[in-house]
Amino acid sequence: MARAVSNKTKTINTAIAGTIGFLMFFPILWIVVLSLKTEENAIRAPLEVLFSSDWTMESFSTVQARSDYFKHFSNSVIISLGSTFLGLLIAIPAAWSMAFVPSKHTKNVLMWMLSTKMLPPVGVLVPIYLLFRDFNLLDTRVGLTIVLMLINLPIIIWMLYTYFKEIPGEILEAARMDGATLREEVLYVLTPMAIPGMASTILLNIILAWNEAFWTLNLTAAKAAPLTAFITSYSSPEGLFYAKLSAASVMAIAPILIMGWFSQKQLVRGLTFGAVK
């Protein structure tokens, strides 16, 4: 705001907003603290936990040793990166052609693609499960990668479309006038301008794929389970497992938290399909 604001007002705002921010963030902060404690201390009263001086990285190594954590971590990496790049490969040509060679059907095609995203996953759970069983795709990374690619494809196409649409066509025409071939046009004119949009599309889709928890839970078992599904094995009812659960959780959410912070603005565009910018 352009108006002068007194420091007192600012301080009050900061105090209120800071408290709310802290409360929202507290569960995440708390598992970071617990992950650095021994199991015996992790279940004590919160203040005792905080002031006990037994900070240790032990839980992280225990989690790996006892459950082969990194196998599932790499499942998550492979599935989310794989589905994103596979989706990109299919989405870039589609979004490019709709943005630069629009026809009278373009709007309908875009809306139809979006409508596939509105289909509740549980509505097709049975057939997908049976098809996966028959094609031996249950509990495989390939199968999961394909499904996640398909469920996120409409979002990738939509995001890319809105970014491509912002590139003025005149620039491309000017390049063509100057004698650029199609290859040069795409490589030297279009790509540099599209990189920021593509980067945020990639980021958002990795986040969505990493956190997807319907298909990953229903289509995987021990072998291909990514972290969303694997972490449920820590759901034992009672016992000394707070520190280990925390360590496993911290490792599962840390990469995505960092990516998410970088993609706040693009998130709005991607998740509202351009309805809010």
Binding site: M1, T14, I28, I90, S97, N211
Partner: protein, 290 residues
């Protein structure tokens, strides 16, 4: 610009995406509809006789269906109420001048990036555990008898967890919309003597109306499909206290292996989601200048 050659090239470039999505939508959809008219249980080999509307009849008249619809409605509307009002307040607050805006915003938004199974497990164990959880300790510390959150208030507990995950989404979108508001308009109205409430009701709220609608519609689409949070915390129980429609269909198809029944439920879920989707699509379509 668009020559005949580039048009056919464009059609070629878009076809893989169209074909894949078409296959992804049509094949399973037709299978679901087909299965929903069969007596088909994976545990009874040889089943597959035509069932007519029987599956629908049994699915809808089952008391757990009524419970599931009720739970779905309570869960969706509860989360919508909390996140929309809370998100509006948070957005208005974060839009004000303060120190460390970036850091505070990051803290508010962070829960959105936590995977559903992790948030459910963390809340269930570290906070809502009657003995060792922080909420549990607060309750007993104040001298009350310990509360078994998922036993006594199962649906409220899940609503709370899901709201924590979706509040950042509402906040982020409403904040983005708020920041696109013309500041001069606000200043002019202020000079004309409008107080904060006037400005809120007559300038900000109308400006936000669209974003609020988008938040409600998109969240509804996702909230109708809540699954992981229920699976991890209560398994739909106690009884059917936290079974929503998604979870009920999961139970009948993948736990009881009743493909016919599960498919009938699936068709009903698709119809319900479409009611919401039509409104959402219309809003997005208006904004699209293709």
């Amino acid at each position: 610009m668009a020559t005949k050659a580039s048009r056919s090239a464009a059609r070629l470039m878009i076809s893989p995406a169209v074909l894949l999505l078409l296959g992804w939508m049509l094949v399973p959809l037709c299978m679901t509809i087909y299965f929903s008219f069969l007596y088909y249980n994976l545990l009874q080999p040889g089943s597959g006789a035509w069932a007519g509307w029987d599956n629908y009849y049994w699915f809808i008249t089952d008391p757990s269906f009524t419970d599931a619809i009720k739970n779905t409605l309570v869960l969706v509307s509860g989360v919508l109420l909390i996140t929309t009002i809370g998100g509006l307040c948070a957005a208005l607050l974060l839009d004000r001048p303060m120190f460390g805006t970036g850091l505070i915003r990051i803290m508010v938004i962070a829960p959105f990036f936590v995977m559903p199974t992790v948030s459910a497990l963390v809340w269930k164990n570290m906070f809502m555990n009657p003995v060792n959880g922080i909420f549990g300790r607060i309750v007993t510390g104040l001298g009350f008898p310990p509360i078994d959150f998922f036993g006594q208030y199962p649906l409220a507990s899940i609503t709370f967890i899901v709201s924590w995950m979706w509040l950042p989404f509402a906040t982020l979108i409403l904040l983005t919309a708020l920041q696109s508001l013309d500041q001069e308009q606000l200043e002019a109205s202020e000079m004309d003597g409008a107080n904060w409430w006037n400005r809120f009701f007559f300038i900000m709220l109308p400006h936000l109306a669209r974003a609020i609608t988008v938040v409600i519609l998109i969240q509804t689409i996702f909230l109708l499909s809540i699954f992981a949070e229920i699976l991890v915390t209560t398994n739909g129980g106690p009884g059917t206290a936290t079974t929503n429609l998604t979870y009920l269909i999961y139970v009948s198809s993948l736990l009881q292996f009743d493909v016919g029944m599960g498919s009938a439920g699936g068709v009903i879920a698709i119809i319900l989601a479409n009611v919401v989707a039509i409104f959402l699509m219309r809003m997005i379509g208006k904004n699209l200048d293709a």
